[in-house]
């Protein structure tokens, strides 16, 4: 460092960046007793949503429920500032129901800042972290731009899109973080000097327009669900706002095509790899050339603002072209721009450098979380922040780390994908990424994960007691439906024939009746002539557990097979070069990823079953040699 350094306060855990990952990391560390500092470039932008004003969505909703089950904050914050709630994919099975909530962006930030400021052991500091200090392959503190050296036992990097961030809009490009904040330009060098491999990714955001400049008569309205579902409570809050649907058209696409040469994506100004999963409108028009229109959602940014977000219109075309594009859309002909769309390039790490605990393999005590690990999305970020925060704390306490399995969570699936396969574009969670979808539902997130959250100390007595009570109610209700019989009455047969089923001549167990696809649990309650006094969420779950029992059992059997391979641990000090008969490519990949068990090894791309058998033979000999 070329400037005078003074030694500042010492912390157990330092978190760099107060976005969605950093917040969960800092809260998890502080709430489990670690003296924690959370650094942000700008205190006014804690928990900022620089892109869509919503929390949840397909797969992402699952993450929020899991974060809540483990004792994270995101679900509670979203519930507190909810504008509208919609359950997606209700026409499909219960495994893929996903909750999405429109959120008041300013209130979300206020909520989070308030929670952070009122958490014991937690200090929120505005300062740019410009370097990390590593001694003997172990991190021992960070340096800030104003000359402070903050000693720490663990450091979590959660820099989002601010790390060497560069905003690009048409021919214009300049260093900046999201929403025109300052870019953290110096930390990258320090990380690289510590041996961390950084890559360059790109993402983008659409324009925001003034609510009064929209012709709503031309748009479809999208209402929230009635009653709305919440992330953390059985008590619904009212929907406050609606969203609107608009469509691009041939004219929109013509404007985009004619101006492609001015797009930095196509002119070569942008070199970072963008996400396939939320592509810019110019990407969509080029890639899906035969699609006559693309759907857009116009979403409110908050209760006390006229800013409207145009989901689906992310772009890095010049402002002039963006305006033509927006004005070509029915209902937006006279839209007034408040914020111009832009693309942003940033530094992030290759996540295969991380253990599933999110700690760097080569630097003890240093963790990565969120967009810094190559993901995209607030929910993905929060999930990783939570796990990094928990593991940093557990390590300082000398306890076993928390690694969630693919078979028990989307969080585990997300992290396993990242650290095992790496990613060459911003990674987004999707329900299709899980092999165990039917087991990993939103409705059973607590059953899957709350014990783990409880063990690390993030689940309060009150919340845990409520879970135990609900779990008991659920089990009792399932047991009741399995053991009780409905008599064969005219009402029962009338119901059956109305659905096209054959009439019965004898009574039937209630669970058996419920297994008929079209029969709902409400049908059963109607036949019983009473509705049990238990929360709706529990009734729904009882229905799912009974109706899908066959498939659930099948997936549980697969989980058992999966776990057998996960239990075959690979010694951490294994020398892959010593394995006789292993292919060079396989050896290099195993050396790079250093999988913790045979299951993880088998998921590395380019590792074949034959390679695994060579590894297994070696391990059996290795085991004997050690005895």
């Amino acid at each position: 460092m070329s400037y005078t350094v003074y030694t500042a306060e010492e912390y157990d855990v330092i978190v760099v960046g107060a976005g969605h990952a950093g917040i969960e990391a800092a809260l998890a560390a502080a709430r489990t007793g670690q003296k924690t500092a959370l650094f942000t470039l700008m205190l006014d932008l804690v928990g900022n949503m620089p892109c869509n004003p919503s929390i949840g969505g397909t797969g992402k909703g699952h993450l929020v429920f899991e974060i809540d089950a483990l004792g994270g904050e995101m679900g509670r914050a979203a519930d507190a500032v909810m504008l509208q709630s919609r359950m997606l994919n209700t026409s499909k099975g219960p495994a893929v129901h996903s909750l999405r909530m429109q959120a008041d962006r300013r209130k979300y930030q206020e909520y989070m800042k308030h929670v952070l400021e009122n958490t014991a052991n937690l200090t929120l500091i505005q300062a740019e972290v410009v370097g990390i200090s590593v001694q003997n392959k172990k991190v021992d503190g960070v340096y800030t731009a104003f000359g402070g050296f903050y000693p720490a036992k663990a450091v979590i990097i959660a820099t989002g899109t601010s790390l060497r961030g560069r905003i690009i809009c048409g021919e214009e490009a300049y260093d900046a973080g999201p929403d025109n904040t300052v870019s953290a330009t110096r930390l990258s060098k320090s990380l690289e000097e510590a041996g961390i491999k950084l890559v360059r990714f790109k993402t983008g955001t659409p324009p925001r327009i003034h609510a009064d400049s929209i012709d709503y008569s031309q748009l479809e309205v999208q209402y929230g669900d009635e009653p709305p579902t919440m992330f953390t409570s059985d008590t619904p809050k009212p929907n406050k706002k609606v969203c609107y649907i608009a469509y691009t058209n041939e004219e929109t696409h013509r404007i985009i095509r004619e101006n492609l040469h001015r797009s930095p994506l196509y002119s070569g100004v942008i070199t970072g790899t963008g996400p396939r999963y939320c592509p810019s409108i110019e990407d969509k028009v080029v890639r899906f050339a035969d699609k006559p229109r693309h759907q857009l959602f116009i979403e409110p940014m908050g209760e006390n603002t006229k800013e409207m977000y145009i989901q689906g219109l992310s772009s890095s075309l010049p402002e002039e072209v963006q305006k033509q594009v927006v004005h070509s859309i029915k209902g937006l002909e006279r839209a007034v721009f408040m914020r111009t769309a832009y693309a942003i390039e940033y530094d992030c790490c290759d996540p295969t450098q991380l253990y599933p605990t999110l700690e760097f393999k080569e630097i003890s005590g240093l963790y990565g979380a969120g967009q810094f690990n190559g993901t995209s999305g607030y929910e993905e970020a929060a999930a990783q922040g939570l796990i990094a925060g928990i593991n940093a704390s557990l390590k300082i306490q000398g306890k076993e780390p928390l690694v969630l399995l693919r078979s028990e969570s989307y969080i585990g699936t997300l992290i396993d994908d990242l650290v095992t396969k790496g990613t060459n574009e911003p990674y987004r969670i999707m329900t299709s990424r899980s092999e165990y979808r039917l087991l990993l539902r939103q409705d059973n997130a607590k059953t899957r994960l709350i014990e783990k959250g409880r063990r690390v100390g993030l689940v309060s007595d009150e919340k845990y007691a409520e879970y135990r009570k609900n779990q008991a109610l659920l089990e009792a209700e399932i047991q009741r439906l399995r053991s009780e019989t409905l008599r064969c009455t005219p009402e029962l047969n009338q119901l059956l024939t109305s659905y096209g089923y054959e009439e019965l001549h004898d009574g039937i167990r209630k669970a058996e009746l419920l297994k008929r696809p079209l029969i709902t649990i409400d049908d059963i309650y109607r036949l019983e002539g009473r509705v049990p006094d238990i929360p709706n969420s529990i009734k729904k779950r009882a229905e799912i557990e009974i109706k899908y029992e066959g498939y659930i059992k099948k997936q549980l059997a697969e989980v058992e097979r999966f776990k057998k391979l996960e239990e075959k641990k690979i010694p951490p000090d294994i020398d892959y070069k010593k394995i006789k008969g292993i292919r060079l490519e396989a050896m290099q990949k195993l050396e790079k990823i250093r999988p913790e068990n045979i299951g993880q090894a088998s998921r590395i791309s380019g590792i074949s079953p034959a390679d695994i058998s060579v590894l297994l033979i070696y391990l059996s000999q290795y085991g004997r040699g050690n005895e």
Partner: protein
Amino acid sequence: MRTIAAISTPYGKGGVALIRISGDEAIQVASRLFKPKSGVRVEDIKPNTAVYGSFFDKDGVFDDGIATIFKAPKSYTGEDVVELSCHGGILVTKKLLETAIEAGCDYAEAGEFTKRAFINGKLTLSQAEAIGGIIDAKNEKHLAVSLLQSKGALSKKIAELSDRLTHLAASVYAYIDYPDEDLRDVTSEEMKETLLSIRADILRLIDTHRYGQAISEGINTVIIGKPNTGKSSVLNSLIGYDRAIVTDIAGTTRDVVTEQVRLGDLILNLSDTAGIRESGDPIESIGIEKSKQALEKAELVIAVFDGSKPLDGDDAEILERIRLAGKEDCTICLLNKSDLGLAVQDLPFGRKIAYSALKGIGKDRLEAEIGALFGEGNITTLGEIILSARQFAALKRALNAVDNALDALDSFTQDIAGMDIEEAIACLGELDGRTASEQIVNEIFSHFCVGK
């Protein structure tokens, strides 16, 4: 990977013998034991050309021969390969192999060259199995099918089915994962239509296995009949020489005799059973028990009757046994000794043939009837015949998964059907080695001989 070597021609005296070396150091190894006559260095030999020269060890030159060099990835295994041809003497071949081992090779395991070809992506699993088929081929058809499949005829079909299923699953998941993208929701009716068409294709493949097995592994055939109807003579007339002991004393055939017989392209694995008749003789009882088991496993039953005499109670019992084993549809009844006159008219089931093992009457008809049961029939695509029991089993599992998916579309939702579709894809992947577990892979290659 370590460099391996093996003798790839059969053990014994021959004109030439071939030693194959494969691995990163194959060419270096060859340079330590082979000297081209032209003076060129082994390292400089042009790939895919044969070069004449001498084989030497520490004591000097011990034979002359040919070396052919193949450079990775353009070789059988996908690695550097050197093939050395020496004179085909037992001693000289062994000496050349040992010299290669001393020069830095390991002995190859059974099937290791083909296994490496599979690991290095040169072959799919069904192609590798087909290469085994070429080596083992017992008739022209078996060879023809194996040749086509070694070039990927079956793999192509499996990949096509797998791609269609993947596409179907992807269309469901795309809708679920991108609810905002205004994607057209694929209807359950459309999904069913595609699944039914895929199901028909899988079923067609499954149905070829009857023929595929008949030309490769052989049809498990049981010859059954009461004592002294001439079963063993029938067996011998099919085999062409006296294999089972034939006497006129009832109950001479004490054990199940198994023979492989070719009938055109078809192979019969014949079991001549001791006469099915409860016996007090303990030795014969063992034979009788075995013949009952053989009947249970039979794919073809040849029931032999003395056609010159009316059927008696023992004959009726034989027919009852066949019926109880559920083998009526695959039974051929031979009315043997028909040269002595035909006294039997009606039989309750089975294809009926007047036969004489002694005079050679009815053998053509027998062949024709077996052909009707197991023949090529309406198989049109030779390359898509399922030969191996492993592939057959994987296809059955895939069929089952597709059926479950169809059920799920009626009873549950599309994403549930998606789970079954993914299972079907996994079964097909296993068939062709894309997702096969290491046990399956090792099992398959262990059937190869060393040197292949």
